[in-house]
């Protein structure tokens, strides 16, 4: 699915990622943990294709393609979804029309006709129910005046609607209460299929009680310094990141 080889990335000349190696196979959920400022969000943005990040060395292949050559929208159309840590407000544009536009542009890329209105509405209903979202949400402007929790739920709702093959969730759990956390987990678990993958970036072990990862990585100072099974998350929670720092 996704292969990252020796990836180094700089922002304005400052090196943030220093040789990342990561391989995510179909069906796997990977968790990336680590203290603040170690490059977790940078990694998510580089996979998403955000401008302003200079890849100084290494490569990313996704489904056999050179991912770094694709624009952000092409990556999305190829099935990559990025759940934002700080979702952006788009006043005046309803979630419904935003999602319909996104789905239809993706379908156009894939050579498909626009989604029939009835089918689209059915999808909306199904996912609203699944994520326990209020009916009126769909008519509200994208993220405008949303609470922190609502914004994160809306990210998961978009993900559920867009059905990506690879979802990258950048600290989607931060600032959420336990109910919202369950919603996020439901969204991710529902997407879990043998041909789909997810990368869950998180600060805390808490989310991993609900989304059981196949592999846990610790990112520290721009490098993946430790990888292991789901038990490692618990160990990290117990011993703290000092444990990693000291062992380096």
């Amino acid at each position: 699915m996704l292969k990252i080889k020796n990836l180094s990335v700089a922002i304005k000349g400052k090196e943030i990622l220093k040789g990342i190696n990561l391989e995510v196979n179909p069906g796997e959920v990977h968790a990336i943990m680590g203290p603040n400022g170690t490059g977790k969000s940078t990694l998510a943005y580089v996979i998403g294709g955000r401008e302003g990040y200079e890849v100084t060395s290494g490569e990313i292949t996704y489904k056999g393609m050179n991912l770094l050559e694709l624009s952000p929208e092409e990556r999305a159309c190829e099935g990559i979804f990025l759940g934002f840590q700080y979702p952006v407000e788009i006043p005046g544009v309803s979630i419904t029309s935003f999602l319909r536009t996104a789905i239809n542009e993706q379908r156009k890329y894939q050579g498909l006709d626009p989604v029939p209105p009835a089918e689209f509405l059915a999808m909306m209903e199904e996912n609203k129910k699944l994520l326990d979202l209020q009916d009126k949400l769909a008519n509200r402007s994208v993220n405008e005046g949303f609470s922190g929790g609502e914004k994160k739920k809306n990210e998961i709702f978009q993900m559920a609607m867009l059905q990506p093959s690879l979802a990258i969730l950048d600290e989607t759990d931060s600032g959420l209460d336990i109910d919202a956390l369950r919603v996020v987990a439901t969204g991710v678990n529902n997407l879990r299929r043998p041909d789909n993958s997810a990368i869950v970036i998180t600060h805390y072990q808490r989310l991993l009680d609900y989304i059981i990862p196949d592999v846990v990585h610790v990112l520290y100072d721009g490098r993946i310094v430790k990888s292991g099974g789901k038990e490692m998350a618990l160990e990290l929670e117990e011993k703290g990141y000092e444990w990693i720092k000291n062992s380096l």
Binding site: S71, E73, A76, C77, P91, V93, T101
Partner: protein, 470 residues
Amino acid sequence: MDTSIQTYNLKERLIEQSLSRNIRFPGGDTPYVAGVRHKALEQFREIGLPHPNLERWRGTDLSKAFETDYHLSFDPAGKGVDIEALFKCTVPHFETFLVAQLNGWFVYNDGPLHTLPNGMVVGSLASAIHAHPGLIEKYYGNLTAQSDEGLTALNTAYALDGMIIYVPDNVSVEETLQMVNLIDSPENLMLHPRNLVILGKNAHLRLVQCDDSINHGTTFINAVTEVFMDEDSSLDHYKLQNKDSHSTLINTMYFEQQQGSRLTSNAMSLNGGIIRNSSCVKLDGENASADIYGLYLMDRNQHIDNRVFVDHAKPRCHSNELFKGVLDDHATGVFNGHVLVRRDAQQTMAYQKNNNILLTDKATIDTRPFLEIYADDVKCSHGATVGQLDANAMFYIRSRGISEASARILLMYAFAAEIINKISIPELKQRIDDMVKKRLRGELSICDQCVLQCSSQEKKADFKIDMSKI
């Protein structure tokens, strides 16, 4: 009679022309109106035409517009014209009381002036001079006499017709009054339409002013409107401007507000060669409020100038200015906001904001929000921003699979939505929402609403963006 005004020494010729015995100005036989006109002409003689050396005209250069040879039309053009044939409002379910002006003349079939069962007077200003001398002598020229604007003096000196609206005390006008200003002439025209709006105590009115033009020539429109709002009255006012690129539209409005009156004025400028919207508001009674909004979407060589002057003359008044605009290509813009808080106007609240997006490095905006405060217990703020589309938001939208071009439109629309959402008439809001979307997609031509369907279709305005649908 049609008279051509050569531009060589335009000012002198305009003065000379207006003194000609051949022109019969309306109300020439009433001492009050003749006096107002005479004073205005003297004032124009003194001040003259605007030029960029004047502080309040810095940024808007009319010299090119003054180079055209204009015709002045002195023959009433409004009688027996079928409004429905000229203009069909395409806003669905938008039930309005529709009135129109053609080349500055009030359009009518069955009499130029109407008094409705509720006592409201609507019709031709020229006719009202004799029919309602009480209103005219009490209000006409009252606010413009206090102005030192040369073009306003010229308008008063040259005013031939326009519209009068009078809403008596305690009357709420249910229907929205829609005033359509049409220009239809093969000639280059210079017009000085004049409107007078009077709201009695606790009177309420919604007024939509649409400026459209179907003209093969060049037009210079110098429109002046005086608005008097008595105690606890309210006016919900909209200006929708969609004009051809070789027209100059100077729209100057003077408002005087008494205690507890509430004004909302929203100017939406979608196309036009040179547009200048000037609003002068005098808050002359306690607890009056004025919300002045504007949205402008300009491209090519279009120029927009929004000027607001709010005079907080009495305590506890509230004013709020919000103007937002997107400028593409070589388009230029000016925003001038001036709030004056007089010494006794304690507990004034006054806010000014102007936000701009420049899409190219050739587009420019000159923005000057300005506060002048002499009272010490006030809440005032002012601010302006000039920027490009937010890179963060662009990435967010594109990361959902939406193309860069569509993402730009979505963000421009989102930027404009704040002003569109201020529109309190749902049908109008929907219509303007559609027009803004079309404008941003490059699909709105100035002929969009017109039923004349003349052959000179304006080149479609284009923000260099193409997309299927938002």
